[in-house]
Protein backbone atom coordinates (compact mmCIF):
# COMPACT_ATOMS: atom_id res chain seq x y z
CA UNK A 1 0.00 0.00 0.00
CA UNK A 2 2.79 2.43 0.80
CA UNK A 3 6.37 2.93 -0.21
CA UNK A 4 8.06 0.98 2.53
CA UNK A 5 11.74 0.66 2.95
CA UNK A 6 12.78 -2.93 2.19
CA UNK A 7 12.07 -5.16 5.09
CA UNK A 8 10.41 -2.42 7.06
CA UNK A 9 7.26 -4.37 7.70
CA UNK A 10 8.93 -7.69 8.43
CA UNK A 11 7.71 -8.95 11.80
CA UNK A 12 10.48 -8.80 14.37
CA UNK A 13 11.71 -12.17 15.50
CA UNK A 14 10.08 -13.39 18.64
CA UNK A 15 7.37 -10.74 18.54
CA UNK A 16 3.82 -11.09 17.36
CA UNK A 17 3.09 -9.74 13.85
CA UNK A 18 2.19 -6.04 14.05
CA UNK A 19 -1.34 -5.05 13.25
CA UNK A 20 -1.68 -2.94 10.07
CA UNK A 21 -2.94 -0.01 12.14
CA UNK A 22 0.07 -0.16 14.45
CA UNK A 23 2.42 -0.51 11.52
CA UNK A 24 0.93 2.58 9.97
CA UNK A 25 1.22 4.55 13.19
CA UNK A 26 4.86 3.54 13.41
CA UNK A 27 5.44 4.60 9.82
CA UNK A 28 3.83 7.94 10.65
CA UNK A 29 6.02 8.42 13.69
CA UNK A 30 9.11 7.61 11.63
CA UNK A 31 8.30 10.12 8.86
CA UNK A 32 10.40 13.17 9.64
CA UNK A 33 8.34 15.74 7.67
CA UNK A 34 5.12 14.48 9.17
CA UNK A 35 6.55 14.69 12.69
CA UNK A 36 8.03 18.18 12.24
CA UNK A 37 4.92 19.52 10.49
CA UNK A 38 2.62 17.93 13.06
CA UNK A 39 4.64 19.27 15.99
CA UNK A 40 4.71 22.76 14.47
CA UNK A 41 0.96 22.66 13.86
CA UNK A 42 0.29 21.54 17.43
CA UNK A 43 2.46 24.38 18.80
CA UNK A 44 0.81 26.97 16.53
CA UNK A 45 -2.70 25.72 17.30
CA UNK A 46 -1.97 25.66 21.04
CA UNK A 47 -0.64 29.23 20.83
CA UNK A 48 -3.82 30.32 19.06
CA UNK A 49 -6.15 28.54 21.48
CA UNK A 50 -4.27 29.81 24.51
CA UNK A 51 -3.93 33.32 23.02
CA UNK A 52 -5.21 35.12 26.17
CA UNK A 53 -2.46 33.42 28.18
CA UNK A 54 0.31 33.80 25.58
CA UNK A 55 -0.32 37.36 24.37
CA UNK A 56 1.15 39.99 26.69
CA UNK A 57 -1.22 42.74 25.52
CA UNK A 58 -4.78 43.22 24.29
CA UNK A 59 -4.53 42.83 20.48
CA UNK A 60 -6.88 45.78 19.95
CA UNK A 61 -5.49 48.09 22.66
CA UNK A 62 -4.24 51.36 21.15
CA UNK A 63 -1.21 52.95 22.75
CA UNK A 64 -0.41 56.46 21.44
CA UNK A 65 2.80 56.46 23.51
CA UNK A 66 4.40 53.63 21.52
CA UNK A 67 3.45 54.13 17.90
CA UNK A 68 5.55 52.08 15.44
CA UNK A 69 7.93 50.97 18.20
CA UNK A 70 10.76 48.72 17.02
CA UNK A 71 10.84 45.09 18.16
CA UNK A 72 12.35 44.96 21.64
CA UNK A 73 11.86 43.57 25.12
CA UNK A 74 8.63 45.54 25.69
CA UNK A 75 7.12 44.68 22.32
CA UNK A 76 8.64 41.46 21.01
CA UNK A 77 7.62 42.07 17.37
CA UNK A 78 7.19 45.86 17.64
CA UNK A 79 3.99 47.86 17.36
CA UNK A 80 1.87 49.23 14.49
CA UNK A 81 0.71 52.73 13.53
CA UNK A 82 -1.75 52.77 16.42
CA UNK A 83 0.75 51.46 18.95
CA UNK A 84 -0.90 48.01 19.09
CA UNK A 85 1.41 45.18 20.15
CA UNK A 86 2.19 43.11 17.04
CA UNK A 87 3.14 39.94 18.89
CA UNK A 88 -0.25 39.90 20.60
CA UNK A 89 -2.00 40.63 17.30
CA UNK A 90 -0.10 37.83 15.53
CA UNK A 91 -0.95 35.38 18.34
CA UNK A 92 -4.66 36.27 18.21
CA UNK A 93 -4.53 36.28 14.40
CA UNK A 94 -3.65 32.58 14.56
CA UNK A 95 -7.20 31.92 15.76
CA UNK A 96 -8.66 33.56 12.66
CA UNK A 97 -6.31 31.88 10.19
CA UNK A 98 -6.60 28.41 11.64
CA UNK A 99 -10.37 28.74 11.83
CA UNK A 100 -10.41 29.97 8.25
CA UNK A 101 -8.30 27.02 7.13
CA UNK A 102 -10.51 24.50 8.92
CA UNK A 103 -13.91 25.94 8.03
CA UNK A 104 -13.14 26.56 4.38
CA UNK A 105 -11.63 23.09 3.93
CA UNK A 106 -14.67 21.60 5.69
CA UNK A 107 -16.91 23.38 3.16
CA UNK A 108 -14.80 22.08 0.23
CA UNK A 109 -14.69 18.58 1.70
CA UNK A 110 -18.41 18.32 2.43
CA UNK A 111 -19.70 19.57 -0.90
CA UNK A 112 -16.85 18.06 -2.91
CA UNK A 113 -17.37 14.59 -1.44
CA UNK A 114 -21.15 14.90 -1.82
CA UNK A 115 -20.86 15.82 -5.52
CA UNK A 116 -18.15 13.23 -6.14
CA UNK A 117 -20.14 10.41 -4.52
CA UNK A 118 -23.32 11.32 -6.40
CA UNK A 119 -21.45 11.50 -9.71
CA UNK A 120 -19.39 8.35 -9.22
CA UNK A 121 -22.09 6.19 -7.65
CA UNK A 122 -25.05 7.02 -9.84
CA UNK A 123 -23.12 7.59 -13.07
CA UNK A 124 -24.98 8.36 -16.31
CA UNK A 125 -26.75 11.70 -16.57
CA UNK A 126 -26.10 12.60 -12.91
CA UNK A 127 -22.38 12.08 -13.44
CA UNK A 128 -22.44 14.04 -16.69
CA UNK A 129 -24.20 17.06 -15.17
CA UNK A 130 -22.12 17.16 -11.99
CA UNK A 131 -18.79 16.73 -13.75
CA UNK A 132 -19.58 19.43 -16.33
CA UNK A 133 -20.39 21.71 -13.39
CA UNK A 134 -17.05 20.80 -11.80
CA UNK A 135 -15.29 21.53 -15.12
CA UNK A 136 -16.90 24.96 -15.14
CA UNK A 137 -15.66 25.65 -11.59
CA UNK A 138 -12.18 24.57 -12.67
CA UNK A 139 -12.24 27.07 -15.55
CA UNK A 140 -11.93 29.97 -13.09
CA UNK A 141 -8.22 30.63 -12.64
CA UNK A 142 -6.82 30.37 -9.08
CA UNK A 143 -8.11 33.00 -6.71
CA UNK A 144 -10.77 34.26 -9.15
CA UNK A 145 -13.51 31.82 -8.13
CA UNK A 146 -13.06 32.87 -4.50
CA UNK A 147 -13.15 36.54 -5.60
CA UNK A 148 -16.40 35.99 -7.49
CA UNK A 149 -17.91 34.13 -4.51
CA UNK A 150 -16.94 36.96 -2.15
CA UNK A 151 -18.61 39.39 -4.52
CA UNK A 152 -21.82 37.35 -4.52
CA UNK A 153 -21.83 36.75 -0.76
CA UNK A 154 -20.55 40.15 0.33
CA UNK A 155 -17.26 41.33 1.79
CA UNK A 156 -16.29 40.01 5.24
CA UNK A 157 -14.38 37.28 7.05
CA UNK A 158 -17.22 34.75 7.30
CA UNK A 159 -18.02 35.06 3.63
CA UNK A 160 -14.32 34.87 2.74
CA UNK A 161 -14.17 31.50 4.53
CA UNK A 162 -17.14 30.21 2.52
CA UNK A 163 -15.72 31.66 -0.71
CA UNK A 164 -12.37 29.94 -0.19
CA UNK A 165 -14.29 26.76 0.61
CA UNK A 166 -16.24 27.00 -2.65
CA UNK A 167 -13.02 27.39 -4.63
CA UNK A 168 -11.82 24.03 -3.28
CA UNK A 169 -14.96 22.01 -4.08
CA UNK A 170 -13.93 20.86 -7.59
CA UNK A 171 -10.69 19.27 -6.33
CA UNK A 172 -12.49 17.10 -3.78
CA UNK A 173 -15.29 16.26 -6.20
CA UNK A 174 -12.82 14.97 -8.80
CA UNK A 175 -10.77 12.88 -6.38
CA UNK A 176 -13.90 11.44 -4.73
CA UNK A 177 -15.53 10.54 -8.04
CA UNK A 178 -12.42 8.64 -9.14
CA UNK A 179 -12.24 6.78 -5.83
CA UNK A 180 -15.94 5.89 -5.92
CA UNK A 181 -15.66 4.58 -9.47
CA UNK A 182 -12.92 2.19 -8.42
CA UNK A 183 -14.42 1.26 -5.02
CA UNK A 184 -17.77 0.51 -6.69
CA UNK A 185 -16.16 -2.43 -8.49
CA UNK A 186 -15.27 -4.19 -5.24
CA UNK A 187 -16.96 -7.43 -4.29
CA UNK A 188 -18.06 -6.26 -0.87
CA UNK A 189 -20.17 -3.53 -2.49
CA UNK A 190 -21.74 -6.14 -4.76
CA UNK A 191 -22.32 -8.35 -1.71
CA UNK A 192 -23.90 -5.53 0.29
CA UNK A 193 -26.15 -4.74 -2.63
CA UNK A 194 -27.02 -8.41 -3.08
CA UNK A 195 -28.20 -8.76 0.52
CA UNK A 196 -30.47 -5.78 -0.11
CA UNK A 197 -28.70 -2.98 1.76
CA UNK A 198 -30.52 0.29 1.03
CA UNK A 199 -28.52 2.75 -1.06
CA UNK A 200 -27.89 5.39 1.66
CA UNK A 201 -26.60 2.64 3.99
CA UNK A 202 -24.48 1.21 1.21
CA UNK A 203 -22.91 4.60 0.55
CA UNK A 204 -22.50 5.61 4.18
CA UNK A 205 -21.35 2.32 5.69
CA UNK A 206 -19.49 0.66 2.86
CA UNK A 207 -18.44 3.21 0.27
CA UNK A 208 -17.47 6.25 2.34
CA UNK A 209 -14.94 4.53 4.62
CA UNK A 210 -13.12 3.41 1.49
CA UNK A 211 -12.81 6.79 -0.15
CA UNK A 212 -12.07 8.87 2.90
CA UNK A 213 -8.29 8.40 3.08
CA UNK A 214 -7.35 10.30 -0.10
CA UNK A 215 -9.83 12.99 0.95
CA UNK A 216 -8.18 13.38 4.35
CA UNK A 217 -4.80 13.71 2.65
CA UNK A 218 -6.15 16.24 0.16
CA UNK A 219 -7.87 18.19 2.96
CA UNK A 220 -4.63 18.44 4.92
CA UNK A 221 -2.76 19.60 1.83
CA UNK A 222 -5.51 22.10 1.05
CA UNK A 223 -5.41 23.82 4.48
CA UNK A 224 -2.25 25.74 3.53
CA UNK A 225 -3.70 26.97 0.23
CA UNK A 226 -6.94 27.92 1.99
CA UNK A 227 -5.08 29.99 4.59
CA UNK A 228 -3.13 31.77 1.84
CA UNK A 229 -6.32 32.40 -0.20
CA UNK A 230 -8.13 33.73 2.89
CA UNK A 231 -5.23 36.01 3.83
CA UNK A 232 -5.05 37.19 0.20
CA UNK A 233 -8.73 38.18 0.30
CA UNK A 234 -8.15 40.12 3.51
CA UNK A 235 -5.00 41.67 2.01
CA UNK A 236 -7.14 42.89 -0.90
CA UNK A 237 -9.66 44.35 1.55
CA UNK A 238 -12.32 41.73 0.76
CA UNK A 239 -12.04 39.49 3.83
CA UNK A 240 -11.51 40.41 7.49
CA UNK A 241 -12.01 44.10 8.20
CA UNK A 242 -10.19 46.45 10.60
CA UNK A 243 -9.51 46.31 13.50
CA UNK A 244 -9.45 42.46 13.34
CA UNK A 245 -5.96 41.07 13.96
CA UNK A 246 -6.04 39.07 10.71
CA UNK A 247 -2.61 38.36 9.21
CA UNK A 248 -3.40 39.32 5.60
CA UNK A 249 -5.10 42.52 6.71
CA UNK A 250 -2.16 43.36 9.03
CA UNK A 251 0.23 42.93 6.09
CA UNK A 252 -1.79 45.26 3.93
CA UNK A 253 -1.83 47.83 6.75
CA UNK A 254 1.92 47.51 7.12
CA UNK A 255 2.95 47.64 3.48
CA UNK A 256 2.72 51.43 3.23
CA UNK A 257 5.25 51.71 6.06
CA UNK A 258 7.82 49.24 4.73
CA UNK A 259 10.59 51.86 4.68
CA UNK A 260 10.01 53.10 8.24
CA UNK A 261 8.48 50.12 10.04
CA UNK A 262 9.36 46.87 8.22
CA UNK A 263 8.34 44.81 11.23
CA UNK A 264 4.67 45.63 10.59
CA UNK A 265 4.78 43.52 7.43
CA UNK A 266 7.38 41.03 8.58
CA UNK A 267 5.65 39.49 11.60
CA UNK A 268 2.26 38.58 10.11
CA UNK A 269 3.90 37.32 6.89
CA UNK A 270 6.21 35.05 8.86
CA UNK A 271 3.21 33.72 10.77
CA UNK A 272 1.33 32.82 7.56
CA UNK A 273 4.49 31.24 6.16
CA UNK A 274 5.01 29.07 9.26
CA UNK A 275 1.43 27.82 9.42
CA UNK A 276 1.30 27.08 5.70
CA UNK A 277 4.69 25.35 5.73
CA UNK A 278 3.68 23.25 8.72
CA UNK A 279 0.44 22.12 7.09
CA UNK A 280 2.24 21.42 3.80
CA UNK A 281 4.88 19.33 5.58
CA UNK A 282 2.18 17.48 7.51
CA UNK A 283 0.04 16.97 4.41
CA UNK A 284 2.98 15.74 2.32
CA UNK A 285 3.93 13.33 5.08
CA UNK A 286 0.40 12.05 5.48
CA UNK A 287 0.21 11.48 1.73
CA UNK A 288 3.49 9.53 1.72
CA UNK A 289 2.26 7.29 4.50
CA UNK A 290 -1.43 6.90 3.65
CA UNK A 291 -1.83 7.43 -0.07
CA UNK A 292 1.30 7.73 -2.17
CA UNK A 293 -0.75 7.60 -5.40
CA UNK A 294 -1.80 11.22 -4.88
CA UNK A 295 1.80 12.34 -4.77
CA UNK A 296 3.82 14.27 -7.30
Amino acid sequence: MTRDAPGQDRPATGKATRSPRRAMLQRMARHRGLAIGGALLVILAATAVLAPLVAPHDPLAIDPASIMARPGPRHLLGTDTLGRDLFSRVVYGGRISLLLGLISVAVSLFFGVLLGVLAGYFGGKVDEVIMRFVDVLLAFPGLLLALLAVFALGIGLRNAMIAVGISGIPLFARVTRGEVLSAKQNLYIEAARAIGAPEPVLIWRHLLPNIITPNIVLATLRVGTAIIFGASLSFLGLGAQAPAPEWGLMLSQGRGFLAVAWWMSFAPGLAIFLVVMASNLFGDGLRDVLDPRLGT
Binding site: R132, F133, D135, V136, L137, A139, F140, P141, G142, L143, L144, L147, L148, A149, V150, F151, A152, L153, G154, I155, G224, I228, A231, S232, F235, L236, G237, L238, G248, L251, S252, R255, L258, A259, W262, S265, G269, L270, I272, F273, V276, M277, N280, L281, D284, G295, T296
Partner: protein, 307 residues
Protein backbone atom coordinates in the same frame (compact mmCIF):
# COMPACT_ATOMS: atom_id res chain seq x y z
CA UNK B 1 -5.74 16.36 -35.87
CA UNK B 2 -7.98 19.08 -37.35
CA UNK B 3 -11.02 17.10 -36.24
CA UNK B 4 -9.57 16.89 -32.75
CA UNK B 5 -8.93 20.63 -32.61
CA UNK B 6 -12.49 21.33 -33.76
CA UNK B 7 -13.92 18.88 -31.22
CA UNK B 8 -11.78 20.38 -28.47
CA UNK B 9 -12.88 23.89 -29.47
CA UNK B 10 -16.51 22.76 -29.42
CA UNK B 11 -16.01 21.48 -25.87
CA UNK B 12 -15.04 25.01 -24.84
CA UNK B 13 -18.53 26.26 -25.64
CA UNK B 14 -20.41 24.50 -22.79
CA UNK B 15 -17.60 25.39 -20.38
CA UNK B 16 -17.73 29.07 -21.32
CA UNK B 17 -21.55 28.99 -21.20
CA UNK B 18 -21.30 27.55 -17.69
CA UNK B 19 -18.74 30.18 -16.68
CA UNK B 20 -20.94 32.97 -18.03
CA UNK B 21 -23.97 31.52 -16.22
CA UNK B 22 -22.10 31.38 -12.92
CA UNK B 23 -20.68 34.88 -13.36
CA UNK B 24 -24.09 36.29 -14.18
CA UNK B 25 -25.83 34.21 -11.50
CA UNK B 26 -23.31 35.21 -8.82
CA UNK B 27 -23.92 38.88 -9.52
CA UNK B 28 -27.66 38.31 -9.62
CA UNK B 29 -27.39 36.88 -6.09
CA UNK B 30 -25.78 40.08 -4.74
CA UNK B 31 -28.17 41.98 -2.50
CA UNK B 32 -29.13 45.13 -4.39
CA UNK B 33 -28.16 45.52 -8.03
CA UNK B 34 -26.13 47.61 -10.41
CA UNK B 35 -28.62 50.47 -10.18
CA UNK B 36 -28.27 50.61 -6.41
CA UNK B 37 -24.52 50.90 -6.71
CA UNK B 38 -24.79 53.45 -9.52
CA UNK B 39 -27.10 55.65 -7.51
CA UNK B 40 -25.54 54.96 -4.14
CA UNK B 41 -24.33 58.52 -3.71
CA UNK B 42 -26.70 60.27 -6.06
CA UNK B 43 -29.74 60.33 -3.75
CA UNK B 44 -32.12 59.43 -6.61
CA UNK B 45 -35.88 59.18 -6.06
CA UNK B 46 -37.73 55.84 -6.07
CA UNK B 47 -39.33 56.73 -9.41
CA UNK B 48 -35.94 57.47 -10.91
CA UNK B 49 -34.58 54.12 -9.64
CA UNK B 50 -37.59 52.28 -11.12
CA UNK B 51 -37.15 54.06 -14.47
CA UNK B 52 -33.45 53.17 -14.66
CA UNK B 53 -34.14 49.59 -13.61
CA UNK B 54 -36.62 49.30 -16.50
CA UNK B 55 -34.20 50.97 -18.88
CA UNK B 56 -31.41 48.49 -18.02
CA UNK B 57 -33.84 45.57 -18.19
CA UNK B 58 -33.32 44.68 -14.51
CA UNK B 59 -37.08 44.26 -14.00
CA UNK B 60 -37.19 41.41 -16.50
CA UNK B 61 -37.03 37.68 -15.55
CA UNK B 62 -33.64 36.14 -14.74
CA UNK B 63 -33.33 34.06 -17.90
CA UNK B 64 -34.24 36.97 -20.16
CA UNK B 65 -31.59 39.08 -18.45
CA UNK B 66 -29.07 36.27 -18.75
CA UNK B 67 -29.81 35.87 -22.45
CA UNK B 68 -29.27 39.60 -23.04
CA UNK B 69 -25.99 39.45 -21.08
CA UNK B 70 -24.85 36.38 -23.00
CA UNK B 71 -25.65 37.66 -26.47
CA UNK B 72 -23.84 40.93 -25.72
CA UNK B 73 -20.87 39.20 -24.07
CA UNK B 74 -20.47 36.97 -27.14
CA UNK B 75 -19.82 40.16 -29.09
CA UNK B 76 -17.38 41.41 -26.45
CA UNK B 77 -19.90 43.88 -25.05
CA UNK B 78 -19.95 43.79 -21.25
CA UNK B 79 -21.62 47.17 -20.87
CA UNK B 80 -20.13 50.29 -19.34
CA UNK B 81 -18.08 50.37 -16.16
CA UNK B 82 -20.06 52.11 -13.42
CA UNK B 83 -16.95 53.58 -11.82
CA UNK B 84 -14.80 54.39 -14.86
CA UNK B 85 -17.76 55.33 -17.08
CA UNK B 86 -16.20 53.76 -20.18
CA UNK B 87 -17.05 50.49 -21.97
CA UNK B 88 -15.73 47.55 -19.93
CA UNK B 89 -14.09 45.95 -22.97
CA UNK B 90 -12.20 49.19 -23.63
CA UNK B 91 -10.91 49.27 -20.05
CA UNK B 92 -9.91 45.59 -20.27
CA UNK B 93 -8.22 46.19 -23.64
CA UNK B 94 -6.14 48.95 -22.08
CA UNK B 95 -5.12 46.90 -19.02
CA UNK B 96 -4.85 43.36 -20.39
CA UNK B 97 -1.39 43.78 -21.97
CA UNK B 98 0.14 44.70 -18.58
CA UNK B 99 -1.38 41.59 -16.94
CA UNK B 100 -0.35 39.32 -19.82
CA UNK B 101 3.18 40.77 -19.68
CA UNK B 102 3.34 40.01 -15.95
CA UNK B 103 1.82 36.53 -16.25
CA UNK B 104 4.00 35.46 -19.17
CA UNK B 105 7.15 36.85 -17.53
CA UNK B 106 6.39 35.00 -14.30
CA UNK B 107 5.62 31.85 -16.26
CA UNK B 108 9.07 32.13 -17.87
CA UNK B 109 10.66 32.59 -14.43
CA UNK B 110 8.65 29.71 -12.96
CA UNK B 111 9.42 27.33 -15.83
CA UNK B 112 13.13 28.16 -16.03
CA UNK B 113 13.74 28.00 -12.28
CA UNK B 114 11.34 25.08 -11.70
CA UNK B 115 12.72 22.92 -14.53
CA UNK B 116 16.36 23.53 -13.58
CA UNK B 117 15.79 22.79 -9.90
CA UNK B 118 13.66 19.75 -10.69
CA UNK B 119 16.24 18.26 -13.06
CA UNK B 120 19.11 18.91 -10.64
CA UNK B 121 17.17 17.31 -7.76
CA UNK B 122 16.29 14.23 -9.84
CA UNK B 123 19.83 13.74 -11.16
CA UNK B 124 21.28 14.12 -7.68
CA UNK B 125 18.50 12.01 -6.14
CA UNK B 126 19.06 11.09 -2.52
CA UNK B 127 21.93 13.54 -1.97
CA UNK B 128 21.93 16.77 0.03
CA UNK B 129 21.38 18.68 -3.25
CA UNK B 130 18.06 16.86 -3.69
CA UNK B 131 17.04 17.47 -0.07
CA UNK B 132 18.07 21.12 -0.25
CA UNK B 133 16.21 21.73 -3.51
CA UNK B 134 13.04 20.12 -2.18
CA UNK B 135 13.27 22.16 1.03
CA UNK B 136 13.57 25.31 -1.09
CA UNK B 137 10.52 24.17 -3.02
CA UNK B 138 8.59 23.69 0.24
CA UNK B 139 9.54 27.24 1.25
CA UNK B 140 8.43 28.47 -2.18
CA UNK B 141 4.94 26.93 -2.02
CA UNK B 142 4.45 28.07 1.56
CA UNK B 143 5.26 31.77 1.02
CA UNK B 144 2.20 33.96 0.51
CA UNK B 145 2.97 36.05 -2.57
CA UNK B 146 2.03 39.33 -0.94
CA UNK B 147 4.69 38.65 1.68
CA UNK B 148 7.44 37.51 -0.69
CA UNK B 149 6.66 40.61 -2.79
CA UNK B 150 7.11 42.90 0.18
CA UNK B 151 10.34 41.12 1.19
CA UNK B 152 11.73 41.53 -2.35
CA UNK B 153 10.73 45.22 -2.39
CA UNK B 154 12.36 45.71 1.01
CA UNK B 155 15.61 44.06 -0.07
CA UNK B 156 16.04 45.08 -3.72
CA UNK B 157 14.33 48.47 -3.74
CA UNK B 158 14.56 49.96 -0.27
CA UNK B 159 17.88 48.51 0.95
CA UNK B 160 19.93 47.87 -2.20
CA UNK B 161 18.16 50.37 -4.48
CA UNK B 162 18.65 48.11 -7.51
CA UNK B 163 15.08 47.88 -8.81
CA UNK B 164 11.97 50.06 -8.67
CA UNK B 165 9.41 49.15 -5.98
CA UNK B 166 6.36 50.01 -8.05
CA UNK B 167 5.06 50.96 -11.45
CA UNK B 168 4.41 49.50 -14.88
CA UNK B 169 6.60 49.65 -17.98
CA UNK B 170 10.11 48.45 -18.78
CA UNK B 171 11.97 45.29 -17.90
CA UNK B 172 13.33 46.68 -14.63
CA UNK B 173 9.85 47.36 -13.29
CA UNK B 174 8.79 43.84 -14.33
CA UNK B 175 11.58 41.87 -12.61
CA UNK B 176 10.42 41.93 -8.99
CA UNK B 177 6.71 41.33 -9.74
CA UNK B 178 7.55 38.48 -12.14
CA UNK B 179 9.78 36.79 -9.56
CA UNK B 180 7.22 37.31 -6.80
CA UNK B 181 4.45 35.77 -8.85
CA UNK B 182 6.67 33.01 -10.25
CA UNK B 183 8.15 31.68 -6.99
CA UNK B 184 5.37 29.37 -5.91
CA UNK B 185 4.70 28.12 -9.45
CA UNK B 186 8.45 27.42 -9.78
CA UNK B 187 8.33 25.39 -6.58
CA UNK B 188 5.44 23.27 -7.88
CA UNK B 189 7.05 22.81 -11.32
CA UNK B 190 10.30 21.73 -9.61
CA UNK B 191 8.46 19.06 -7.61
CA UNK B 192 6.62 17.69 -10.63
CA UNK B 193 9.74 17.74 -12.83
CA UNK B 194 11.72 15.88 -10.17
CA UNK B 195 9.16 13.15 -9.60
CA UNK B 196 8.31 12.54 -13.26
CA UNK B 197 11.99 12.53 -14.22
CA UNK B 198 12.78 10.08 -11.41
CA UNK B 199 10.08 7.78 -12.72
CA UNK B 200 11.45 7.90 -16.27
CA UNK B 201 15.09 7.55 -15.20
CA UNK B 202 14.30 4.13 -13.77
CA UNK B 203 13.04 2.79 -17.10
CA UNK B 204 14.72 0.26 -19.35
CA UNK B 205 15.34 2.50 -22.33
CA UNK B 206 17.25 4.95 -20.16
CA UNK B 207 19.42 2.09 -18.95
CA UNK B 208 19.99 1.13 -22.57
CA UNK B 209 20.99 4.70 -23.44
CA UNK B 210 23.47 4.67 -20.56
CA UNK B 211 24.75 1.21 -21.49
CA UNK B 212 25.60 2.30 -24.99
CA UNK B 213 27.89 4.91 -23.46
CA UNK B 214 25.91 8.11 -23.93
CA UNK B 215 26.99 11.04 -21.80
CA UNK B 216 24.74 11.42 -18.73
CA UNK B 217 23.75 14.94 -19.83
CA UNK B 218 22.41 13.56 -23.11
CA UNK B 219 20.66 10.66 -21.39
CA UNK B 220 18.82 13.06 -19.10
CA UNK B 221 18.11 15.90 -21.48
CA UNK B 222 17.49 14.08 -24.73
CA UNK B 223 16.05 10.73 -23.65
CA UNK B 224 14.52 11.03 -20.20
CA UNK B 225 13.36 14.64 -20.25
CA UNK B 226 11.23 14.22 -23.33
CA UNK B 227 9.06 11.62 -21.61
CA UNK B 228 8.94 13.52 -18.37
CA UNK B 229 7.81 16.62 -20.21
CA UNK B 230 4.11 15.71 -20.50
CA UNK B 231 3.46 16.02 -16.77
CA UNK B 232 5.60 19.14 -16.65
CA UNK B 233 3.71 20.84 -19.48
CA UNK B 234 0.38 19.89 -17.88
CA UNK B 235 1.38 21.46 -14.58
CA UNK B 236 2.78 24.56 -16.35
CA UNK B 237 -0.62 25.02 -18.05
CA UNK B 238 -2.47 24.66 -14.75
CA UNK B 239 -0.04 27.06 -13.10
CA UNK B 240 -0.96 29.67 -15.70
CA UNK B 241 -4.36 29.81 -13.98
CA UNK B 242 -2.78 30.23 -10.56
CA UNK B 243 -0.61 33.01 -11.99
CA UNK B 244 -3.60 34.82 -13.51
CA UNK B 245 -5.35 34.66 -10.14
CA UNK B 246 -2.17 35.67 -8.33
CA UNK B 247 -1.80 38.69 -10.62
CA UNK B 248 -4.64 40.31 -8.64
CA UNK B 249 -2.44 40.27 -5.54
CA UNK B 250 0.89 41.08 -7.21
CA UNK B 251 -0.55 44.04 -9.11
CA UNK B 252 -1.84 45.38 -5.79
CA UNK B 253 1.50 44.86 -4.01
CA UNK B 254 3.51 46.56 -6.76
CA UNK B 255 0.91 49.19 -7.69
CA UNK B 256 0.94 47.93 -11.28
CA UNK B 257 -1.76 48.40 -13.87
CA UNK B 258 -3.66 45.32 -14.99
CA UNK B 259 -7.00 43.55 -15.05
CA UNK B 260 -6.26 41.85 -11.71
CA UNK B 261 -6.19 45.06 -9.72
CA UNK B 262 -9.12 46.30 -11.82
CA UNK B 263 -11.15 43.20 -10.83
CA UNK B 264 -10.36 43.66 -7.12
CA UNK B 265 -11.31 47.36 -7.32
CA UNK B 266 -14.51 46.46 -9.17
CA UNK B 267 -15.49 44.00 -6.42
CA UNK B 268 -14.84 46.57 -3.70
CA UNK B 269 -16.82 49.29 -5.51
CA UNK B 270 -19.60 46.92 -6.71
CA UNK B 271 -18.87 47.73 -10.35
CA UNK B 272 -21.02 44.87 -11.70
CA UNK B 273 -20.21 45.06 -15.43
CA UNK B 274 -16.50 45.33 -14.70
CA UNK B 275 -16.53 42.24 -12.43
CA UNK B 276 -18.36 40.29 -15.14
CA UNK B 277 -15.98 41.41 -17.87
CA UNK B 278 -12.70 40.82 -16.02
CA UNK B 279 -13.69 37.42 -14.64
CA UNK B 280 -15.00 36.25 -18.04
CA UNK B 281 -11.87 37.37 -19.91
CA UNK B 282 -9.51 35.81 -17.34
CA UNK B 283 -11.39 32.50 -17.49
CA UNK B 284 -11.38 32.59 -21.29
CA UNK B 285 -7.61 33.09 -21.26
CA UNK B 286 -7.21 30.15 -18.86
CA UNK B 287 -9.30 27.68 -20.87
CA UNK B 288 -7.55 28.70 -24.10
CA UNK B 289 -4.13 28.10 -22.52
CA UNK B 290 -5.26 24.68 -21.33
CA UNK B 291 -6.43 23.88 -24.84
CA UNK B 292 -2.98 24.83 -26.15
CA UNK B 293 -1.42 22.56 -23.51
CA UNK B 294 -3.59 19.67 -24.71
CA UNK B 295 -2.54 20.31 -28.28
CA UNK B 296 1.13 20.52 -27.33
CA UNK B 297 1.03 16.86 -26.21
CA UNK B 298 1.02 15.84 -29.86
CA UNK B 299 4.22 17.71 -30.48
CA UNK B 300 5.90 16.49 -27.29
CA UNK B 301 4.93 12.85 -27.64
CA UNK B 302 4.39 11.66 -31.22
CA UNK B 303 2.87 8.42 -29.86
CA UNK B 304 -0.22 10.40 -28.90
CA UNK B 305 -2.74 10.45 -31.70
CA UNK B 306 -5.93 12.39 -31.69
CA UNK B 307 -8.12 10.80 -34.27
Amino acid sequence: MTAFVIRRLALLIPILLGVSFLVFGALYAVPGDAIDSMLADAGASAAEVARLRREFGLDRPFLTQYWTFLSRAARGDFGRSIRLRIPVIEAIGAQLPATLELTVASLVVATTVGLSFGVIAAVRHGTWVDTGTMMLSLVGVSMPIFWSGLLLIFLFSLKLGWLPAAGTGGVRALLLPAFTLGISAAAIIARVTRSSLLEVLGQEYVRTARAKGLAERLVVLRHAMRNALISVVTIVGLQFGALLGGAVVVETVFGRQGIGIMAADAIRTQDFPMVQGTVMIASLAFVVVNLLVDLSYIWIDPRIHYA
